[in-house]
Symmetry: C2
Subunit: 173 residues, 2 copies
DNA sequence: AGCAATAATTGTTGTCGTCAATAGTTGTTG
DNA sequence: CAACAACTATTGACGACAACAATTATTGCT
């Protein structure tokens, strides 16, 4: 499990050599930038991708990925959650949840416990080390976010967060 | 709402209809929501995912996906682009570009032309129908964006767009 | 008791990104 | 000017992952 970080950590060198493109500063005033990023939806998609990559590369050293992290954070808020609820709330397929919880269990971050009410249901709970891990990586997450939100000052970050949150709660999930 | 991904090959059913799940109102004041969406980076990731899905489901009827759209929009801004530039600027692997341009060529939206300077290079240009298609889908894109940004008024959308753009130009690409 | 619905799980399929290898072409250099 | 290194587009292979269908065990209904 978890092998080969391999690739995209330091993905900043597209082999600039000779007549290559003049390593450009790239600002939004160039026409191609406006053409590409004129639409907020597409912009969101692009940034979401980058954010996910950053998060993943940060979690990679721990052997898990963004989804695992999402599950962990959800578990941290409810303490005792049947898998079907994880599936419904996080929007992942039930079959995906199986593998995710398997991994978390293998690492000792969570464990399945039988439900007292329903014997088909398995309740997933966060363990001690899972909670610890969450606390540790939380800091790393903030660091990533800080890196991502580079040019924004605190007030602007607050604004952005509030706006995104409004959108998020609209569409649920 | 739009909770279930549901979309794949043929059926694209945004399905605001079916309310099979016990739809909880879900607002950001619930503790689990704060726990999950406390971090701006993760929030961005999540919304980017949703935005991408929306875009894809919108383009699906045309037979292409978001990447094709990205290529088309880039082509629209430069008119005549070697494939290696597409690869570098959009962040896709050169081998991915091959398939994408193949599809676009097959649909008549773009075509490869030999480069006068370098016989190994192929210049991709946007055709008439490609430009038309772009204009048509641009409207659809705006509709999607509008749907996505539902609860925000025009001023807020402007603010959001500006903030996202600042982040985007920072990290290049 | 019978029967539909549900929870977790397995297996399959198609898509996608990454990496390695190849053919044709260019530029450099000894 | 001839050999070599670098580069462009392309192909093929491999692994990761999401979406569906099918299975097993259990529950609720009537």
């Amino acid at each position: 499990m978890l092998e080969s970080p391999a690739s995209s950590t330091e993905h900043r060198e597209p082999a600039i050599t000779r007549q290559n493109v003049t390593a450009k500063p790239i600002d939004a005033h160039e026409p191609w930038m406006r053409g590409l990023h004129a639409d907020t939806g597409y912009l969101l998609y692009r940034l979401g991708l980058r954010s996910g990559q950053l998060f993943n590369s940060c979690l990679q050293e721990s052997g898990l990925r963004l989804r695992h992290y999402a599950v962990l954070r959800y578990l941290a808020t409810t303490d005792g959650t049947p898998q079907r609820e994880l599936s419904a709330r996080l929007g992942y397929d039930p079959s995906a949840i199986v593998g995710l919880v398997d991994d978390l269990e293998k690492l000792g971050f969570a464990e399945r416990r039988p439900s007292p009410d329903d014997r088909r249901s398995r309740i997933v709970v966060l363990t001690e080390s899972g909670s610890d891990f969450l606390r540790d990586t939380d800091e790393a997450g903030l660091r990533v976010t800080g890196e991502l939100l580079g040019p924004l000052d605190p007030a602007e970050r607050e604004t952005l967060h509030a706006l995104l949150l409004r959108i998020a709660e609209d569409g649920l999930n």
